[in-house]
């Protein structure tokens, strides 16, 4: 017999080959890698509405006339150096910055600096349905422009001179300046679009981005990586890193693993459950910031018995919010008493929240005609949201709380898209929901969530339309001085608390885990990720 079969000889070799390892190459100097949570829908700032796309497009590559100072919701000059607002609040005149350069690519080299034509072009392209570039890309809509109701706000945009533009509004609208700092109001290059049209490839202008921002587009490998290079001629000063890479990693566990191994230096959206371990890791700093958000529970006031204020107040008093904050938010949030978070101006801190008082709640229920309680359906969030890490757990705790005052709660949920759809149609009795602010103006909470107009579109889940509240909020939007507006919003919060259309639950913290070699990273208030001021220190 032959004593050694080739099989026996080959097997260890095969095993070795399968498990062979290769050294990881070190990252290039001056390269910052960000593990992002998904692919952008496209490379155009006006079409899309997701934070993922904004982070990949409008944040690194574009500018607005005005922008939010990173870390706050203060509005600071950007492509506009200054602005004036007419006394009637209906005319905004922007003085534009001179010497601002656009990016270039293989098909386009700008021949002129940014000027008023670009502003008028960028706006009219969205606003004017007969604009030659309005329907450039088939099937695309200007979602955010529509969502923000811009059609009813801006009448027209005019070029006054080369470096001055004027926005004429249909009505006084104080939040307008904050709107102009939003991603959809990014400024495109008119020259670029016209050049692509001339070349016979007009669509290219919507696919390969040309902006004025700190980083230039380099390449995109679908669902894998986006590369940017520092824009040498950036008006705000060249970014410190040479290359910025977004490594698209949809799974939060994989993102964390990559952060640990150094395959990326900053990661998006950590899983709440991983935070404790992250904070213990000496290579990682977990930055945190109060979120511009609110998690709440809305009573559908169109349905009985939630049309009765006493019932809503009773259900408010029966919930032990402090216990929920401790058990579900695990300290990563704070109890909410107002519909806006405390970091937002006009937050009314003199408001007293309903105390946790089951006895008083029972009494109120009895007054409302329910001495023995009643039955209700509570819809709980089927997914983790930035403002609520675990809807089911919150639901269960509230169920137990309400049980104590005789209210029997049936917990209900649907698939997330279906949940939203049904809630917007007002099918619920009591629904758990929340909101993350777009632009740091209080109007952006009061109007889309509690305004009378928002009942129709379903953003107002309580379907609560209160004349007094509405008048205050509308008046505030038409008042130009911030101090005066703040007073009106403070009054609105008093009415809101008294009427109790919601149980205001919590404002949660946001977290960005960053490796220690990253210097100068600052969390943004509106949950974007900015890398233009970030540097990378060599590892010790």
């Amino acid at each position: 017999m032959v004593n050694r079969s080739p099989v026996r000889r080959l097997l260890p070799l095969a095993l070795l080959a399968a498990f062979a390892t290769l050294p990881l190459a070190a990252l290039g100097k001056g390269t910052l890698v960000y593990c992002s949570e998904g692919s952008p829908e496209g490379f155009q700032p006006q079409f899309f509405t997701t934070g993922t796309t904004f982070d990949a497009v409008s944040v690194p590559m574009f500018n607005r006339l005005v922008e939010f100072e990173t870390g706050t919701t203060n509005i600071v000059p950007a492509l506009a150096e200054s602005w004036t607002i007419s006394p009637d609040g209906k005319t905004y005149t922007f003085k534009l910055r001179k010497g601002v350069k656009f990016h270039s690519n293989a098909n386009f080299t700008p021949t002129r600096d940014f000027n008023a034509d670009d502003v008028v072009f960028s706006w009219n392209r969205m606003a004017d349905e007969n604009h030659p570039f309005h329907k450039l890309t088939a099937g695309q809509t200007f979602s955010y422009y529509d969502d923000m109701g811009m059609k009813n706000i801006v009448d027209k945009v005019e070029k006054v001179d080369e470096y001055t533009v004027r926005f004429n509004l249909k009505r006084p609208e104080a939040p307008f300046l904050a709107d102009m700092a939003m991603d959809f109001a990014s400024i495109l290059s008119k020259e670029y679009f016209e050049a692509m049209l001339k070349k016979g490839t007009p669509n290219a202008a919507d696919v390969y981005p040309i902006g004025t921002g700190p980083f230039e587009f380099a390449s995109y490998q679908k669902d894998a990586t986006i590369r940017y290079k520092a824009f040498d001629k950036y008006w705000g000063g060249r970014p410190k890193v040479d290359t910025l890479v977004y490594s698209i990693t949809r799974d939060a566990t994989a993102r964390y693993a990559k952060l640990k191994t150094g395959e990326c230096q900053v990661m998006a959206f950590p899983k709440p459950a991983d935070l404790d371990e992250m904070k213990k890791d000496s290579r990682i700093t977990v930055q945190q910031k109060e979120g511009l958000n609110i998690g709440y529970i809305a009573f559908n006031v169109e349905k009985k018995p939630f049309d009765d204020k006493r019932v809503r107040q009773a259900l408010n008093m029966a919930v032990d919010k402090a216990a929920i904050l401790k058990a579900v938010y695990q300290g990563n949030g704070q109890v909410a008493k107002n519909p806006i978070p405390p970091i937002l101006w006009s937050y009314n801190n003199s408001i007293k929240d309903y105390p946790y008082d089951p006895a008083k709640a029972k009494e109120l229920l009895a007054q409302a005609g329910f001495p023995n309680g009643f039955e209700l359906e509570l819809w709980y969030l089927p997914v983790t949201r930035p403002y609520n890490p675990d809807g089911k757990r919150v639901g269960e705790m509230i169920q137990a709380d309400w049980e104590k005052i005789g209210v029997k709660t049936k917990l209900v949920t649907y698939e997330w898209a279906e949940y939203r759809k049904r809630a917007k149609q007002g099918e619920h009795q009591v629904v758990m929901f929340g909101w993350s602010g777009d632009n740091g103006d209080p109007d952006n909470f009061f109007v889309p969530l509690l305004g009378c107009e928002a009942v129709k579109g379903g953003g107002n889940n309580a379907r609560w339309c209160n004349k007094q509240f509405e008048d205050l909020v509308v008046k505030a939007a038409q008042t130009s001085k911030q101090a005066d507006r703040a007073k009106l919003y403070e009054q609105a919060q008093v009415i809101f608390k008294e009427e109790a259309p919601w149980i205001t639950l919590a404002h949660s913290m946001r977290f960005d885990p960053v490796r220690n070699e990253v210097k100068g990273y600052k969390m943004d208030a509106t949950a974007h990720h900015y890398f233009d001021k970030v540097d990378i220190a060599p590892l010790p």
Partner: protein, 335 residues
């Protein structure tokens, strides 16, 4: 023979209709719709909702939508993604090479390890080696892919630092996509470092995806070998005094391979479905990852088109295999 081919090809038509109908029905049955997906927590004005539904072509009765979809498919038009507005076929073709590359190496891993392991287990029947191989393969077969993949990442990437966590290539390599196959592209670009990086990124996903086929192949090989080793001609071959390896590899294995190859062929469908999980966890930019995202965003054209293309592929492979059987085996041809 021609009649046989025609008969087999004709069977493809109902399968094709079934697949399109199923893909269409399932994605439309999932709650939610692409328009709702646009708005998130924000309310949407009913008029705008109507307008968007109309623009997406979703305001008509489902049978009409289906009929139109089939009409477009027959003209070779799979439509455009509702989120990116790129053509579905273009997106698929951009991403598919990544999936093929992953599936190929997963298969290589499964066959390369499964065959020898199965042979070993058969030869050492009822010994510790046999039990070890069979126990390990049963474990591998029972392991959920996502769990196994995470374990692999945590151990080999995070703990030992041997392999990268996820992706297809390290970020410092920007290799132009010529063929879409990373190994070929890196070699074409002449960048050995990039090639090595691409290989290291392939290891864990291939293992994760290849483990179940590996287990199936090992068990199949073992039982087929055991059967063949009992055959008279094997005894004859031994009696003739042929070397043992020749008896095993030439006389026994060759015949044992017939059912094994059939099983390997059947794994293609399994590999593609496993790829969906594997790609999601390893951020592998292939069609599985793309389909999952399509389902989440209710991107109807992407899901329908993706399923249709994958099904077409599986159906074609099966058709070819069927025809080959017919060529080889007259009994099938005339059945």
């Amino acid at each position: 023979m021609l009649a046989f081919i025609l008969r087999r090809a004709a069977l493809v038509v109902p399968t094709f209709i079934g697949v399109t109908l199923l893909a269409f029905a399932l994605i439309h049955l999932i709650p939610g719709d692409p328009v709702e997906n646009l708005s998130g927590e924000r309310g949407m004005d009913p008029a705008r909702r109507e307008r968007l539904l109309h623009e997406f072509g979703l305001d008509r009765p489902l049978p009409v939508q289906y009929g139109e979809y089939i009409g477009n498919v027959l003209r070779g038009d799979l439509g455009s993604s509702l989120t990116t507005h790129e053509r579905v076929l273009d997106e698929f073709l951009t991403l598919f090479p990544a999936t093929i590359e992953l599936a190929f190496f997963a298969m290589l891993f499964a066959v390369g390890l499964g065959l020898p392991a199965g042979i070993l287990a058969a030869l050492k029947r009822n010994t510790a080696a046999d039990y070890a191989v069979m126990g390990a393969s049963l474990t591998g077969y029972s392991m959920p892919i996502f769990w196994w993949a995470l374990l692999l990442i945590l151990f080999f990437s995070v703990q030992l630092g041997w392999t990268p966590v996820s992706g297809r290539i390290a970020v410092e390599y920007d290799v132009p996509a010529a063929t879409g196959f990373m190994l070929i592209d890196t070699l074409k670009a002449g960048d050995l470092g990039a090639f090595r990086s691409a290989v290291s990124h392939l290891i864990l996903p291939s293992i994760a995806l290849g483990t179940i086929p590996l287990a199936v192949i090992a068990r199949m090989t073992r039982s087929a070998m055991l059967e063949v080793l009992r055959e008279d001609y094997v005894r004859t071959a031994r009696a003739k005094g042929l070397p043992r390896w020749r008896v095993i590899l030439v006389h026994a294995l060759r015949n044992a391979l017939i059912p094994v190859i059939t099983v390997i062929g059947l794994q293609v469908g399994l590999l593609l479905s496993g790829a969906i999980l594997t790609e999601t966890i390893f951020s592998w930019p292939g069609v599985g990852n793309w389909l999952v995202h399509g389902v989440q965003s209710r991107d109807y054209p992407v899901v329908q088109g993706g399923i249709l293309l994958i099904a077409t592929l599986v159906i074609s492979v099966n058709l070819i295999v069927d025809l080959l059987y017919g060529v080889v085996n007259p009994r099938i041809r005339h059945a």
